[in-house]
Symmetry: C2
Subunit: 191 residues, 2 copies
């Protein structure tokens, strides 16, 4: 735990660097599978130096999740108040698919972490419960005018996307986009 040269950064910049590194590491090994020291080493600093910016390991996790949320929701859902129809919903989900294709490590982060966080004792447990509910609600509202049981439809759409992501991570050969289109064709063809 020794740093050869001391590199001093403005706090905002350093925080960003730490969160980016932590995101990668947690995506690979999960939160339980990685240590504060590894977060720090990935930024070329020491554990103690890192703890100056985040008072505990858990705070790093919270930071990572908040950072993703800022970008994610905005980027995909676009409009504050989208038209509540099937076309719009499908288009939004397709944007999500494309976006995810380009950032495998983020997908991995959410996948690994959300499984780990099934444990009620996990620090991100509540975060993922909230997140699931809100994205389901948002999707349900968009499907409301079209599908007879929009709640059920939302569950099935999200389940398929989650499962496809998981399988894509296990085997990156899988053609994510093609499978999504295939599923969506069937799904949105219903009366």
């Amino acid at each position: 735990m020794t740093a050869s040269v001391r590199r001093r950064l403005p706090p905002a910049e350093r925080r960003e660097e730490i969160l980016a590194a932590a995101t990668e590491l947690i995506a690979v090994s999960g939160f339980n599978g990685v240590s504060l020291g590894e977060f720090a080493a990935a930024c070329g600093m020491t554990k103690a130096g890192l703890l100056h910016h985040f008072p505990s390991k858990e705070h790093v996790l919270v930071g990572v999740l908040e950072r993703r949320d800022e970008l994610d929701v905005a980027a995909v859902m676009g409009d504050a108040d989208p038209a509540p129809d099937a076309e719009t919903a499908r288009a939004a989900l397709t944007r999500l698919v494309h976006r995810n294709l380009g950032q495998q490590s983020v997908v991995k982060l959410y996948t690994v972490l959300s499984a780990e966080a099934l444990d009620p004792a996990h620090p991100a447990h509540d975060y993922f419960r909230r997140r699931l509910r809100t994205s389901r609600d948002r999707l349900e509202r968009q499907l409301f005018a079209w599908h007879p049981r929009p709640g059920e439809a939302a569950v099935e759409l999200l389940a398929f996307l989650d499962g496809l992501q998981l399988n894509w991570l296990r085997d990156p050969e899988i053609d994510f986009e093609a499978h999504w289109e295939s599923f969506a064709d069937r799904f949105f063809a219903q009366d």
Copy 2:
């Protein structure tokens, strides 16, 4: 790490007790999230006593996975050589769904562990890669006579089931069976 009364069991029985306990614990917290001491305590014994039966923590994990496999594949896939048609495939998957509904903790084990094992350094990484491939192949063969692209179909079926399981674990209110039937109706209605 003190045991009040010493309970001596025949090895087979003790191994079974340990694996059952470890299965539950890993299902809740993942392999990285639980310790040898906890495995042992759950059986009313010490770490050292447990290590007499399994020479390392990793051996416990292997034991847990092998134990599941013995039961699982046999129970669901039934015939050694099932008819390669869509009806048979759907029936087999429906049996799988029913079986899983009755053993949430096993589903949780596979879900949590297979996400954790995306990390190539995880001791169960190779196990899950093999497992994914074989179950996909088996399903693909069953869909061969019916679907124009049985490989793709197998991916989509398994992805949906994985995703639905994940969401069901996050929110047990979800009606697993109904969603499966709904998906299967659309899926198997294709030409």
